[in-house]
């Protein structure tokens, strides 16, 4: 294990959490989107985290392996005047719960901060090792 691998581990954590923030942001931005490129309303996206082994499998970093779609059903709202309403007058809105996204957002932010503090502690440890013998 090299001391500098620890930086890569914390960096991988930060990258993963930032990607998660991006996904949450796109979920919130599209929480009312009824039309997408593929047709139909927007589906909530979820990043899938997985352990990523560095250093001959002895050090576990993290990475986002996929961004998957939440298969839960769309939110149906009765609004016959809406252009995207079906024959019964219901509009399918994305399966995004903004409240849940906000909670996730705070979680991602805290996790990001934890990685930042890990990075800072590693940095100050290496710094104090560099100060050895300098009086």
């Amino acid at each position: 294990m090299s001391e500098f691998t620890i930086f890569n581990v914390s960096a991988s954590g930060m990258t993963a959490q930032r990607l998660r923030l991006d996904v949450i942001a796109s979920n919130i931005a599209n929480s009312e989107t009824t039309r997408t490129e593929r047709g139909g309303p927007y589906r909530r996206r979820v990043p899938i985290f997985a352990e990523h082994l560095l250093d001959k499998s002895r050090t576990s970093a993290v990475k986002v392996v996929r961004i998957e779609e939440d298969p839960s059903p769309f939110r149906l709202v009765y609004d016959p005047s809406h252009p995207d309403a079906d024959e019964n007058g219901y509009v399918s809105y994305p399966n995004v719960n903004v409240l849940r996204e906000m909670v996730d957002l705070i979680n991602a932010q805290r996790s990001y901060e934890a990685n930042v503090s890990a990075f800072n502690v590693t940095k100050s440890m290496i710094n104090s090792a560099l100060q050895i013998g300098r009086g």
Partner: protein, 125 residues
């Protein structure tokens, strides 16, 4: 010619750095499903190693060498806090990490002091 502090402190600092690596890995994987927390075992091994020692009942007996044990990284397979089988408690990891970082700084300072003693002798008081 040199005292054993250099060796002892080096081992202690290596263990602290290994601990830092493990804390970083746990924090990075705090949201990874099925990830189990890792931890470093060293003090227990040290206690074990210093307990088993050859008896020296004669002044010409060779004392058993004070070889220091190798720190081991273990995986805690028992504990998990969440439904996705993740076993990391971020608060615990962060507090332990900060404490470990401070311990490392103490060790680095001790190492500096140890060097200073030699400098004092070399320069002549």
């Amino acid at each position: 010619m040199f005292n054993t502090n250099f060796q002892t402190l080096k081992v202690a600092m290596d263990v602290a750095m290994l601990r830092q690596s493990v804390h970083s890995q746990n924090i990075a994987n705090a949201e990874t499903p099925n990830y189990r927390r890792k931890y470093v075992v060293f003090e227990e091994l040290l206690k074990e190693a210093s307990r088993i020692r050859l008896a020296t009942t004669h002044e010409r007996h060779i004392p058993s060498s004070q070889s220091l044990p190798q720190a081991k990284v273990e995986v805690d397979k028992q504990v998990f806090y969440r439904n996705d089988q993740n076993g990391v408690d971020v608060d615990y990891e962060v507090t332990q990490m900060v404490a470990n970082g401070l311990r490392y700084e103490v060790l680095a300072r001790l190492m500096s002091k140890n060097i200073e003693y030699y400098n004092t002798v070399l320069r002549g008081v």
